[in-house]
């Protein structure tokens, strides 16, 4: 991706279901140029990873010279892939950010049906985590906030905002006053 090898870069983020099928995926590198090579990679990663127990702590492995970190919850499988010279903990922080954000966005009902119901949020979430391979944000709550902030139309009265949004706005204003 980024030709400068020094900047950490993410090759892909995958969200697969219990059979390894796509819920949402995003590729940032040219390592898998065609859809079939992408599908082959997903299948390979899924079959290697599904045997392990990645439900309490994120797991990690090295596949085809890529580091893959992953975490499972219910019937959803989260994967983040980077090159084999990447800092493993950086990749795992991206995974954790993605996982936390999705958990917040789906209001803790983290399963496939809920994810598909809210696919727009998941896609926006992917968009806010990594841009062209470069990490944008790894803090789950902040990512979730960026995704949902559109509901908070600037013109809408405060009373129509949900409680979280109201809290977010309040915090925002508060920090701003603190900083200035």
């Amino acid at each position: 991706m980024a030709p400068n090898g020094l900047c950490p870069s993410i090759k892909n983020i995958l969200l697969l279901d219990s059979e390894g099928k796509r819920v949402a995926v995003k590729y940032y590198s040219d390592d898998w140029p065609t859809n079939s090579s992408k599908l082959a990679f997903e299948k390979f990663v899924f079959t290697k990873a599904v045997k392990t127990n990645a439900r309490t702590e994120a797991e990690i492995t090295l596949l085809e010279n890529n580091i893959v970190v992953y975490k499972f919850v219910q019937d959803l499988h989260f994967f983040v892939t980077g090159g084999d010279d990447e800092n493993e903990l950086t990749l795992s922080s991206v995974l954790q950010g993605f996982f936390d954000a999705v958990t917040l966005l789906l209001r803790s009902n983290v399963d496939k049906s809920e994810a598909l119901e809210n696919l727009d949020l998941i896609l926006l979430c992917l968009d806010e985590i990594v841009d062209g391979g470069i990490i944008l944000e790894t803090n789950g709550p902040l990512i979730a906030e960026k995704v949902t902030s559109h509901n908070m139309d600037a013109d809408a009265p405060l009373s129509e905002q949900t409680l979280t949004q109201a809290w977010a706005t309040a915090r925002d204003t508060f920090t701003r006053t603190l900083l200035t």
């Binding site: 090295l62 596949l63 800092n87 960026k146």
Partner: protein, 887 residues
């Protein structure tokens, strides 16, 4: 898995109920997209349709060009809506479609409006979208806004601009480089990610300016960085600066080491690990520097997080290759990781232990590995095999159990790379441990009985042909080889025929039996197999008549093949069918230098079955052709060697001249390549006056001047010298360029009539001993060394005096001799106290030379060297010693 397998089908039924995308179709969704054109936009409905389109794209569906264009135009209509959620989906959609340049214009104004919106979310996203789809011309228009955005107080906006800058730097570097003031300002940002992105961009802008990077690093290491990711970047930049600033470990402290060490106490694990890894990767790291890093990695080994354990054990594994003793402290923690749930971690732990362990623990570890070999991926299996290979080299006495292990895993399922790693390891063991030879060969024989990889079968057959005849009972391999002739594809059959013939050539008792087998091959269905059988039967005298086999033919067919294949290929391509047969001796044997990367790779691990390295097509043929076109040089004979061009002028002077030295048996030809870099001048009657007063054994034979040398079109001048035949005559030549200058009117391009005589001093040129040696590699140095015999061996020891490092001394000697390093021995492992380097080549007069150099550090910096030369001629062996003695 959450559900037991039986439930799977029920699951799928459930899915039908709950998936909102069940059974949706591209055509239908594209129809639905018409709602985008409604005068009264339903934002919710539009969002849903976009989500469906994105879902289709995400599942791998593609839009045709027209479909994409239609969707794009429809989507642009949605900018009318004020709905924020919809706008976000529009942004996403535009990025996914990535419109063509002429379509981009349609959305540009809308996006620019959003870029200046009051809503930060709009601004950030519009920047990212616009920079993604824009081209250079548009970028100039929005540059002003981007510069503002970089220093915007909203971190999301600033990050969006900075990240876009990182992407744009690849396509429009000159524009992005103008932003460095703003970027520098945002490096000081309080927002973690802004700092990270700004640092990343700033470094990329300055990466070609070493001094600037070094300044950046030294100012930031004083503690201005708060974000862990930015700190990781800083650590990477710091180790780059350390690496480039050279090595002053001897003089005491390494610059910036303190910074790296202090990062080991950072509160973020990510930073601690990055620093530890950076320290372990320092060039020539000492154990004192290494220890703090090892200590934190050791703590990570007992972490509850698999990612942390994996990262630590992987790094320690790498450290163990070079500094096994530093890692032994972690052995107890490693032992407990052998039973780790995560097989990747377990494998890395075991292979680390194999590297650090002692002889007594080998058997126990082997047992444990056997237990889980079937569970792990091929990548890790290869890691295990490589660890075992090096273990075997370390403890040759353990070869029996290790060889057993290798042969066992060879029988199991596995991919090509994995099998190749095993076969390579067995081959290396056979070569290095004589006792292991017979069992090893039998394992390989057994393997080809049932081997699905043609490449491996032919390589093993080839190897059998070399090693098999030298065993105590060569006849027992024949059956395995002949079976291949029955059961395999044509490629392997042909290989088997060659191997049979090698046995026949090497072992006289087997000859009659081999003939019987070869004659059967005459009826093979494949041309190549029949041809080979016929050829071998004829050369070995299998057709009944006792043929006096020509030694040269035998050498050619069964000896080592030392001509680089590319050279042979170009030789054959240039050969025109005629009465005269193709002469293999006319093919240059010199190995052209390989690209650096390849060299590195081959240096790291010993090559197993691989053929000798072959370089890119040589320039030698080009020279040969150019020279033979000049009639005066036609009778000089075959060109022995052409040197690389040597510059005789400084860069950017009026006239650029370099010289190529062509060495013939009795002559030396200097080819001066001249370029006139002054547009206002035309040079005429250009000659080089060569003074050979410091090279009195040479006498000038011929000089070919250049009639005219116009601006910027290179020309060649040739000067030939005669020298004593076949002797490495040395000397120094001084050169003066003489010519007549005529002024040229730059506007008309016409030269004035009268010229002025002028001369130009060039730098001196030397004929050195390396000019008389050719780099010719051998595939198996040990074999070549043994077959050369000690008849003309010359051994002597030299003190090389104080040197910067062992590697530097090795390189100097290699360059001095101009010979080809073999088997990757030119690479000196960091921190080693002694090194053996193997060289091979051809000396003028076509005499093969093999050199074994043993280097050792004597005292802190003094390097001592033992030089052993074997060649086909004692004068040449002596000559090599003279080169070193005088160099």
């Amino acid at each position: 898995m959450a559900q037991p397998l039986v439930k799977k089908d029920d699951d799928r039924d459930d899915e039908a109920e709950y998936s909102p995308f069940m059974g949706i179709e591209k055509g239908a969704v594209l129809q639905e997209a018409r709602v985008f054109n409604d005068p009264q936009l339903d934002a919710r409905r539009c969002s849903q349709v976009i989500t469906k389109l994105l879902y289709l794209l995400n599942q791998g569906e593609t839009f045709t060009k027209t479909e994409a264009t239609e969707v794009f135009f429809a989507v642009t209509k949605l900018f009318q809506s004020k709905d924020m959620g919809l706008r976000r989906m529009v942004y996403l959609m535009i990025k996914e479609i990535s419109p063509s340049a002429d379509e981009v214009i349609i959305v540009t104004s809308s996006l620019m409006k959003d870029m200046n919106s009051k809503i930060d979310m709009y601004r950030a996203n519009a920047i990212r979208v616009l920079c993604r789809i824009t081209d250079g011309t548009l970028l100039a228009q929005i540059e002003r806004y981007l510069k503002q955005a970089i220093v915007d107080k909203n971190p999301i906006v600033a990050s969006a601009a900075l990240v876009s800058g990182i992407h744009l730097l690849q396509t429009n570097p000159e524009i992005v480089k103008r932003w460095s003031n703003e970027v520098q300002e945002s490096v000081q940002s309080r927002a973690a990610f802004v700092q990270f992105h700004a640092l990343g961009l700033l470094h990329q802008i300055r990466q070609n300016d070493r001094l600037a990077v070094s300044k950046l690093v030294s100012s930031l290491t004083r503690g201005a960085v708060r974000s862990p990711l930015a700190q990781c970047l800083l650590i990477r930049y710091t180790s780059q600066v350390i690496c480039e600033s050279g090595n002053n470990t001897q003089s005491g402290d390494r610059p910036f080491y303190d910074f790296l060490e202090s990062c080991l106490r950072h509160k973020s694990e990510m930073v601690i690990f990055e620093a530890a890894r950076a320290i372990t990767e320092l060039n020539g790291v000492t154990s004192r520097e290494l220890n703090p890093a090892i200590t934190v990695l050791q703590l990570f080994l007992s972490s509850s997080k698999p990612v942390l354990r994996f990262a630590a054990v992987r790094t320690l594994n790498k450290v163990a290759m070079i500094h096994p003793t530093s890692v032994t402290n972690c052995n107890i923690d490693m032992e407990s990781l052998i039973s780790d749930q995560n097989r990747s971690i377990a494998t890395l732990a075991i292979t680390t232990l194999l590297k650090t362990g002692n002889e007594s623990s080998v058997d126990r570890l082997m047992k444990q590995i056997t237990n889980f070999m079937s569970d792990i991926a091929d990548e890790f299996k290869i890691v295990v095999v490589e660890a075992i290979r090096s273990l075997c080299q370390k403890f040759p006495l353990k070869y029996r159990s290790l060889m057993n292990f290798l042969s066992n895993i060879l029988r199991e399922e596995g991919g090509f790379e994995y099998k190749k790693a095993i076969v390579d390891s067995i081959v290396i063991l056979i070569r290095e441990i004589p006792d292991a030879k017979e069992t090893g060969l039998l394992h390989l024989c057994e393997f080809i009985e049932d081997c699905e990889f043609t490449y491996l079968s032919t390589q093993i057959l080839h190897f059998l042909g070399i090693e098999g005849p030298k065993t105590s009972d060569p006849s027992k391999y024949i059956r395995f080889i002949y079976n291949r002739v029955h059961l395999e594809n044509a490629t392997v059959r042909a290989g088997a025929v060659s191997t049979l013939a090698k046995f026949g050539a090497a072992v006289d008792e087997l000859k009659p039996r081999i003939f019987v087998l070869l004659r059967r091959c005459l009826f093979d269905s494949d041309d190549e197999v029949r041809d080979r059988a016929t050829l071998y039967l004829n050369t070995l005298g299998g057709d009944g008549s006792v043929v006096e086999t020509d030694k040269a033919v035998k050498d050619f067919l069964f000896g080592p093949f030392d001509i680089p294949l590319v050279n042979l290929e170009t030789g054959l391509k240039n050969y025109e069918p005629s009465e005269e047969a193709f002469d293999i001796d006319s093919v240059p044997k010199e190995v052209k230098s390989q690209p650096l990367a390849e060299k590195k790779a081959s240096g790291k691990k010993p090559t197993g079955l691989g053929a000798p390295p072959s370089g890119p097509p040589s320039t030698a043929d080009a020279y040969q052709r150019a020279l033979s076109s000049i009639p005066e040089f036609a009778n000089f004979g075959n060109l022995f060697k052409s040197s690389a061009p040597v510059e005789l002028t400084e860069a950017e002077t009026e006239y650029a001249v370099n010289v190529v030295k062509h060495i013939f048996d009795r002559h030396v030809v200097f080819q001066y390549n001249c370029t006139n870099t002054i547009p206002e001048q035309l040079l005429e009657h250009v000659i080089v006056i060569v003074d050979n007063s410091e090279a009195d054994e040479f006498s000038e034979a011929f000089s070919k001047p250049l009639k005219s040398l116009p601006y910027d079109s290179p020309g060649q001048i040739f000067v030939a010298f005669e020298k004593p035949e076949g002797v490495p005559t040395l000397g120094k030549f001084s050169n003066v360029l003489k010519f007549i200058v005529r002024e040229v009117d730059p506007t008309t391009g016409e030269a004035e009539d009268d010229g002025v005589e002028d001369e130009y001093q060039l730098e001196d040129l030397e004929i050195v001993s390396a000019d008389y040696t050719l780099k010719v590699g051998v595939s198996n140095f040990r074999n070549a060394w043994e077959s050369m015999g000690p008849d003309f061996e010359r051994v002597d020891e030299y003190g090389l005096g104080p040197r910067e490092s062992l590697a530097e001394a090795v390189n100097t000697v290699i360059n001095l001799l101009g010979l080809q390093p073999c088997e990757g021995t030119e690479v000196v492992p960091p921190n080693s106290r002694s090194h053996t380097c193997l060289l091979s080549g051809v000396f003028i007069g076509n005499i093969k030379v093999l050199v074994r150099l043993s280097f050792g550090l004597d005292g802190p910096k003094d390097v001592a060297m033992k030089l052993t030369v074997r060649s086909e001629d004692e004068t040449v062996s002596d000559a090599i010693h003279e080169i070193v003695a005088s160099g």
